[in-house]
Symmetry: C2
Subunit: 738 residues, 2 copies
């Protein structure tokens, strides 16, 4: 017995050693070194290292932390080392970030232990101060808002950059954790490789460890078991023979990892019999398309502006176009922040306030599969991953047309080092051939009138790639005062491995939790909710929210040959609960934000309306843990009184949060909102039942909503714009002939 | 007493004579001459006369009937006299129309009495024959479908053009009348001028008769009183000092006119105390804008294609672009008809059927004011006025961008004479800077991948000006197989005169029936419904309609940490009532048209889905006469079995119809629709509560819906398209420098 046991032990030992050896030999790059010190970006994290361990040919890695230090080739990067702030809302500069880092590091609380900076951004000055500030005034005192973790605690600090003073903000007993650092996200996927069982199961599934690609998946919150420690789930894919590893899941294998210690907590390994889908036809890169298969069906088409764009970007952040002016900045969490949006009144010539601040506050992306490896996929991409952190450099001529202006993001690594995300945002004028307004007289009157104005708009765009999915967020400004906020979904589906290769094997299609997209590949049903923060300031901060309900009115017996007509009944929302809106096609309303103290010449309150378009509503059970956390999607529209701490619809600390700090909780306080400084929240939704056209990469699906002037102007603000005439348009020839 | 009576008579007589004299002296042009004979277009109708009575400087009139006879200057018109049909669905040519007219005129039924041609279009060959026909085959026998009125009766005829044979179609006892002729619409507004009381009231209101502009307004149907005769209501405006007479209503004055005899039946004159709104600030023509007020804020921007467009138009009507091919023709009632839309499968290279025929079937535009001068305004613009008849020549560079292809409409006057509506439809490629698909790898994986494809589309556009309103209808074809059908609303509001000049005079705002837009001007609330006929033929004619219901599924107690998820449950519609769909945000579905006999490689039925976006539903009482007539708006989606007589959602004869021939009636027959040749009907809706920005002309408001491939392709059909590269794009300079 003894010897048998010994032999058994030897076998296990040798296998283990072998597996470990193979693991090390085949790693695309070694697991991150000692992660106990998060301070040194140059040593602790693959994504910001200077070492050449990422030269594995299939996975060349960018080095974002360096891009502001060295000159890349193309497109020309701006150096940001000498940037100085010009506007109270300008993001922190390289110098300011470096100063803040030094201040923090010497602060007593952080001296003794390793520190991780989860967020380091401008602490915006008080709204009243910003509203009063004018160009030429001295800059308002610069402060940084910092979220840092030390010794297992999250701290929210305000750092006064000039005085060096640090104020600790009380956050109360919030359940969640701050947005992950890039180091969290890039190091967690390698943690399982230190685990023997993990490596063994990978090899048993026929995947070479060098072909392994793993993703860090936020795990939501599902009760006690996962509380009081920062956790993450890691799932892996085979990247053999394709760049599109997402289509080759190692199904059912989920590794629970402690984010702070990078220890494997638990491995769930349930899909051993599920084959890894084939690589064929999954790659989407043009370089991999057979030359004979390339589809060159469309002649070049281009938006051309021979006299150049009509917009300017002043002082790096203030965009001026047509009658619009606004402040634009990248943000690590929100992506893009539009502030101080003002419109020059065509009659008075005066700038009029429209929106103090608008941005993507949170996303909620629940997948609809309750099984072990899927139930927890209920992403909140802004608060968990950083919607801006995931926004990658845009591709000129494809992501944005010619003449686009590109703006860099300046973000901060976990150790406090600033780094540049180049070309993160673009600004361009768009003309699709659409019509701003038109009228022809018809043969009925026979008058010879044909007046048409082309519609040109200004688009601010970013594209965030939250691992597989790509979110394209457009803020589109129209010359007539309308703002369209559009979200496009593209990128790659999160798919599930399956034994099925044909639907004729499936009984009860609903149990697939999705659509069979290809052999062994299921596209799992999911929703996307994108919640926008819209601090509207219509001609001043104090506004009211008015629901203009469109109701059927029956006529009285001898009133009219008509039995019914529709009337518009105005309800001014007194408190927050009056403004919790679920849209109904058969009980429609318009949603106005008005300035009750300012009227047009004929006495209508000036306003803007929120105009929903196609959208989707969350149908999850409200007691379901994901829906509690995503309770900000319980309504499509909410209105809250302005409160500078209420910016993130899912709460400040969303990661593993339990939903006690959401917009739904704030709104249920039912505070007064009439004639107050109010914030409107709008949620754009998508149900996504995947189809084969989404394989291996999805054609963009878009939806939008509008902020539209409603009695804001005395009359059509683009009445006096000129039509296009031939002599203004360019003369072009193919580049080849030039 | 006798002498007093005589004096009174004399006074009345002299006044009357004076008024009549003034009337004649001030008429912009004389009322139409004897209208008992509608046959001669050159004498009976202002809109097609050759006489110079329209040379009144403010109202130069076009002469559409002539435009194919003489050469206009710009843009270059095509001559259509020698056109010959090339495709079984090609519209009738000039020669064919002339032949049909001769055949009809010599037909016994029409020899003895004046005849009015209300419609004369191609009678499309049987679908089975068209589907079998291929280019190169002999053309199918050419027939004309004619709607003609003689001696107070409407006749529907089929004329065999080669044999001269006429077949009278039985229409049953339908209540309504055919679409008005242009002669009806242009002559009716002058009928009131023959009435003494009318002229007197106009002058009493301070309007010079030469400044009078009157509109022919379809009167709907509201019971016995207005049955059994063709009637119309005429309302008038002052065009003094503005081209935008619509903003200067002579409120409350409604003249009921017999459309056949042009006799005044009744005058309702109720708004005498309501002032006519001022002309100031109502004109919208650029020529009237003060040079210092012109807003040149945007540099020229243009869609440029240095190698020219990528589409071709073969044989005058077959459009080929990217993988799409379809037949396109103008139609006097529908506007634009798309037929035989096919897509070349990127894998097999074979053309696959998508849609046999699609067009705007009917519009319904109820105004929401139950008072005397407004209650009847419940327009059905296609069936009453002819949506195509009202589509005016497009304005190059403004209605459509450079490189657009323009197609003429060939229509038929009341006497059977063909005439050309030049540049009625345009076709162009659009690129707004949008993204077809994209993916970047994020810092999470760090792979250096950024693949983006620009999104270029092909747009087919027309713009119908139904008196005041302009409807822009776009059929937008995407390279990925999606068809977006978009309707834009612009033009001029139908407004109501009021004594109010400021809202502070108004108590109970709802009684305005709209919004005070300017002094004395109310924009009345109204809806727009545009119902599309979509004969989908997914890989063949026999298809099924599948409602894919997205439902919440509760998990069972120990199934999952999740309490709920969503699943997609497929319901195949067996009969028409299964497919009467009202959209609900909280009970969402996808709406698939599938070919149940054709599956993808992995076994999904091939299909397209109807994807609603922003829309509105009619809330009128279903027993309200307008809603009975517009009952096709009772649902957003309907599906009927293909029936060649069921094309017009409001019925064949919509004018004064009572609603017994609508889509709602057909659908309630509840015929089987599973695995049959089916037609999908989709209604796009708008509630329009006017706002001051709509004054004096409305910025375009758009909404759309999509027909989107769903498992129609094995995978993303635009996977292999190339990205933009700089060397393909043009080199441009301002025209002035050229």
């Amino acid at each position: 017995m003894e010897s048998r046991n010994f032999l058994r032990f030897l076998l296990v030992f040798i296998t283990a050693a072998l597996v470990l050896l193979i693991t090390w030999l085949h790693l695309p790059y070694g697991p991150p070194p000692d992660d106990s010190d998060l301070l040194d970006c140059t040593t602790n994290s693959p994504w910001c290292t200077t070492k050449n361990r990422f030269q594995y040919p299939k996975r060349p890695r960018t080095t974002p932390a360096q891009s502001f230090l060295k000159k890349p080739k193309k497109p020309a990067h701006r150096s940001h080392e000498l940037d100085t702030p010009q506007h109270p809302l300008d993001p922190l500069t390289v110098q300011e970030i470096n100063k803040v880092r030094k201040i923090i590091k010497s602060y007593h609380l952080f001296k003794s232990a390793p520190l991780a900076i989860h967020s380091l951004v401008l602490e915006e000055p008080d709204k009243t101060l910003v509203l009063r500030w004018q160009k030429g005034d001295p800059l308002l005192p610069r402060k940084a808002a910092v979220v840092a973790r030390v010794k297992g605690h999250s701290h929210v600090l305000t750092v006064d950059i000039s005085t060096g003073e640090i104020t600790i903000q009380a956050t109360g007993p919030l359940s969640g954790y701050p947005t992950m650092t890039m180091e969290d996200m890039t190091s967690a996927p390698w943690a399982p490789l230190s685990n023997l069982d993990f490596n063994r199961t990978i090899i048993e599934r026929g995947v070479d460890l060098k072909d392994l690609a793993c993703l860090p998946i936020s795990l939501g919150w599902f009760g006690k078991k996962e509380e009081n420690r920062r956790l993450i789930k890691v799932q892996c894919y085979s990247m053999k023979d394709t760049a599109n590893f997402y289509m080759r899941p190692i199904e059912g294998l989920t590794v629970l990892v402690d984010l702070d210690t990078k220890q494997v907590v638990e491995i769930s390994d349930k899909g051993k019999k599920i084959p890894i889908p084939k690589a064929a036809d999954t790659d989407y890169r043009y370089s991999t398309v057979d030359v004979n298969q390339r589809m060159r069906m469309i002649n070049p088409i281009s938006l051309e502006q021979p006299k150049g764009p009509s917009f300017t970007v002043e002082d790096g952040h203030v965009v001026k176009w047509a009658n619009w002016e606004f402040h634009l900045k990248p943000d690590p969490r929100a992506g893009v922040i539009i502030s101080r949006a003002k419109f020059r009144d065509p009659d008075s010539g005066k700038m009029r306030n429209v929106m103090y601040k608008g941005f993507t506050s949170e996303l909620f992306v629940p997948y609809m599969d309750p099984t072990d490896a899927w139930y927890f996929k209920t992403y909140m991409d802004a608060g968990e991953y950083g919607f801006g952190l995931q926004a990658m450099p845009l591709d000129p001529l494809n992501d944005c047309p010619r003449n686009a202006y590109y703006m860099d993001g300046l973000f901060v690594a976990g150790d406090g080092t600033p780094y540049v995300r180049s070309n993160m945002v673009c600004v361009f004028e768009s003309y699709a051939g659409d019509i701003g307004w038109r009228h022809s007289e018809s043969p009925i009157t026979g008058m010879e009138i044909k007046e048409v104005r082309p519609k040109v708009t200004l688009v601010v765009r970013m594209a965030a790639s939250v691992a597989n999915y790509d979110y394209i967020v457009d803020w589109e400004f129209q010359a007539d005062g309308l703002i369209r906020i559009k979200v496009g979904l593209s990128g790659i589906l999160m798919v599930k491995g399956t034994s099925y290769v044909n639907m004729n094997q499936v009984t009860g299609q609903e149990n697939l939790y999705g659509t069979l997209l290809s052999e062994n590949v299921i596209g799992v049903i999911h929703d996307h909710y994108i919640t926008f923060y819209l601090d509207m300031d219509i001609d001043g901060s104090d506004n009211s929210f008015v629901k203009v309900n469109i109701q059927r009115q029956q006529t009285s017996p001898d009133e009219s040959p008509r039995r019914s007509y529709l009337r518009a009944v105005r309800h001014v929302a007194k408190t927050e609960k009056d403004a919790q809106i679920q849209l109904k096609l058969y009980d429609p309303s318009e949603f106005h934000v008005v300035n009750p103290t300012k009227k047009t010449r004929v006495g209508n309150p000036v306003g803007y309306k929120v105009v929903p378009a196609g959208t989707a509503a969350s149908l999850l059970d409200q007691s379901d843990p994901p829906q509690k956390r995503g309770a900000f999607t319980n309504n499509q529209i909410w209105v809250t009184p302005y409160n500078r701490t209420e910016q993130w619809a899912g709460g400040l600390f969303v990661y593993q949060s339990q939903g006690e700090d959401t917009l739904a909780v704030w709104s249920d306080r039912d505070r007064p909102i009439e004639n107050k400084d109010i914030v409107v929240w709008y949620t754009l939704g998508f149900h996504h039942v995947p189809c084969q056209e989404d394989f291996p990469i999805m054609p963009t699906v878009s939806s939008s909503f509008d902020l539209k002037p409603v009695n804001f102007f005395e009359s059509n603000p683009i009445l006096r714009m000129p039509p296009n005439v031939d002599k203004d348009l360019p003369v072009c020839k193919p580049a080849a002939d030039a």
